[in-house]
């Protein structure tokens, strides 16, 4: 079965320096495969099954997505092939535009039966792209999926919901966003990294696709209003009683 796994080559916000005007400096931040995407690849590989299966990586980002480093970083996770849009013109794309592009990559490749994504991207953590991909493909999107198996033309998914786990049988293609702990992904060794360089990755430009989704433009930045914190530290033997004393005099504790 052919499985597509949508992944993102992204920076971790922890490595981004935001100045007092709210403007972000990403120059010291190294992009990598978004933290939870290797889990999606592992799930995709398990779903695709054996020699008959195929796992295709799809991604949209700036020019670095097509770089040798990014290719090895992604392909070493277990993908068989990848088809990506690596174009600086996508830097301002919003989630709808990215999702439309990813859906177009799925359609272009043909024969994909399921799209698997990670829980949310490490840089935006919005968790909206999977639903948008589903919208453009006309497929339902299930999020917070802890486990998925293929049954006939569809899937049996175990979904984490408030209050428990729901088991759903879907009788057709779907977009499935998996939890961060759905599977423990294998750590790529030297063998996987070397093989990764030889796997095919098709690199497209933004102009190769027809994106009708509308723009969003960032016009200003600022730091968020964050409450100033006291940062008072208590030390030594009396630390606990001093802390409790402070909380009592603040009226937080009786």
């Amino acid at each position: 079965m052919k499985v597509a796994v949508a992944y993102k080559w992204a920076v971790n916000p922890r490595d981004v320096v935001v100045n007092s005007d709210g403007v972000a400096d990403r120059s010291q931040a190294a992009a990598a495969m978004s933290d939870y995407d290797p889990v999606a690849v592992a799930v995709g590989c398990a779903l695709a099954g054996g020699a008959q299966g195929e796992v295709v990586g799809i991604s949209v980002g700036d020019g670095s997505v097509g770089s040798s480093l990014a290719k090895k970083g992604a392909m070493s996770r277990g993908l068989d092939r990848a088809i990506v849009v690596a174009d600086d013109a996508t830097a301002d794309w919003n989630s709808t535009q990215v999702a439309q592009a990813l859906a177009e990559l799925v359609d272009r490749d043909g024969g994909v039966k399921v799209v698997v994504t990670g829980a949310a991207s490490v840089d935006e953590a919005a968790g909206v792209v999977p639903g948008l991909i589903g919208g453009y493909l006309g497929w339902p999107c299930f999020a917070d999926v802890r486990a998925v198996q293929s049954i006939g033309d569809g899937y049996r998914i175990r979904q984490a919901t408030s209050g428990g786990v729901r088991v759903v049988d879907v009788n057709g293609p779907a977009v499935i966003s998996v939890t961060s702990d759905a599977l423990v992904p294998p750590v790529p060794g030297m063998k996987e990294i070397l093989a990764a360089g030889r796997k095919p990755m098709e690199v497209l430009a933004a102009s190769d696709l027809s994106i009708t989704a509308r723009d969003v433009k960032a016009v200003a930045f600022r730091r968020p209003e964050v409450k100033a914190r006291g940062r008072r530290l208590f030390e030594g033997d009396g630390a606990v009683s001093q802390l409790v004393g402070a909380l009592r005099s603040d009226g937080i504790l009786e």
Binding site: G22, T96, E124, P140, C141, V167, P224, R231, R232, E235
Partner: protein, 303 residues
């Protein structure tokens, strides 16, 4: 497929349950008229709601597959806004609606006007003011629950699911050991992180929580991965956001993706053995020490 129309602006609230108070509030700010599309329930009794469309979910059908029915029930105008809740099913529906009208989808917009919104970037490190042309879709936390309409108040019925090409069936539900927890309304929270080495340490934190009459919460790794606590106790960028009077962070280093869920707390207390932990920059009070000593001592002192 949503169709377009001209005319006064409507804010469409897409609600998969009765937690809609904040969505209705946002909708009233965003447009002259508010329509709630209640998916899988009768819809709200709420001031400020002009119209309710209820999309019935056949039994055992997960709401995610109703996307085509929901989009068909809506005629989205050029100046309209669609506001969906943050639950997984609502986000799926929001995505389907946005795709059908090629609309931008904003997550957690802090403010929303005719053509601008403020959104957080980089796990809350920065706020961007963004400009767009309506119609747009926004996903936001639903807020408090409101009363649902009873059977006597007939909402408009959206088309039912019958006749759709393929479907899905909920075949089982395995209830969790404890009922779901809403950390948003907790007055006090005791939260644990990776600094807890043994599962036995959790008992120390639970004792403290009991003594403080606090809810227990955690950072992401303890809920996903270690599975020491259920997911609805996870505080962070993809989890719950607290607004408690007191938040005690035990063995939590204070990474950005966790602290974005904590910033709404009144007083933050940090207990951590590593003085270099970022959390000491964002707390009101802190103790550098071994939690196995500090936590039981704290429990005794507050009793």
């Amino acid at each position: 497929m949503c169709t377009y129309s001209r005319g006064p602006a409507t804010a469409w609230v897409i609600a998969v349950d009765d937690h809609v108070a904040s969505l209705v509030e946002l909708a009233r700010q965003a447009a002259e008229s508010v329509t709630v599309v209640a998916v899988g329930w009768p819809g709200p009794v709420a001031d400020g709601v002009d119209r309710v469309v209820s999309v019935r979910a056949p039994e055992d059908v997960p709401l995610e597959v109703l996307a085509p029915v929901v989009t068909k029930a809506m005629t989205v105008g050029e100046s309209d806004v669609v506001i969906a809740g943050n639950q997984p099913a609502a986000r799926s529906l929001a995505g389907a609606i946005a795709a059908s009208i090629d609309a931008p989808l904003l997550h957690d917009a802090q403010s929303l006007s005719l053509a601008e919104a403020d959104v957080e970037c980089y796990a809350g490190a920065s706020v961007a003011s963004v400009a767009f042309n309506r119609p747009i879709v926004v996903v936001a936390d639903g807020g408090n629950a409101v009363a649902a309409r009873g059977p006597a108040e007939e909402p408009e019925e959206g088309e039912s699911r019958e006749g759709m090409s393929y479907g899905a069936t909920v075949i089982d539900f395995e209830a969790a050991d404890e009922p779901p927890v809403d950390l948003r309304s907790a007055k006090r929270v005791v939260s644990v992180g990776r600094g807890l080495k043994e599962k036995e340490d959790l008992a120390l934190a639970q004792e403290l929580a009991r003594a403080l009459k606090a809810e227990l919460a955690c950072s992401r790794p303890l809920a996903e991965g270690r599975n020491w606590l259920p997911r609805d106790r996870y505080v962070g960028v993809s989890g719950q956001k607290v607004a408690s009077q007191l938040y005690m962070a035990i063995g939590i280093s204070g990474q950005l993706q966790h602290m974005i869920g904590v910033r709404g707390a009144g007083t933050i207390v940090a207990i951590n053995s590593d003085p270099a932990s970022p959390i000491f920059q964002e707390c009101d009070y802190g103790i550098v020490g071994d939690l196995q000593q500090v936590v039981p001592a704290l429990t005794a002192a507050v009793k």
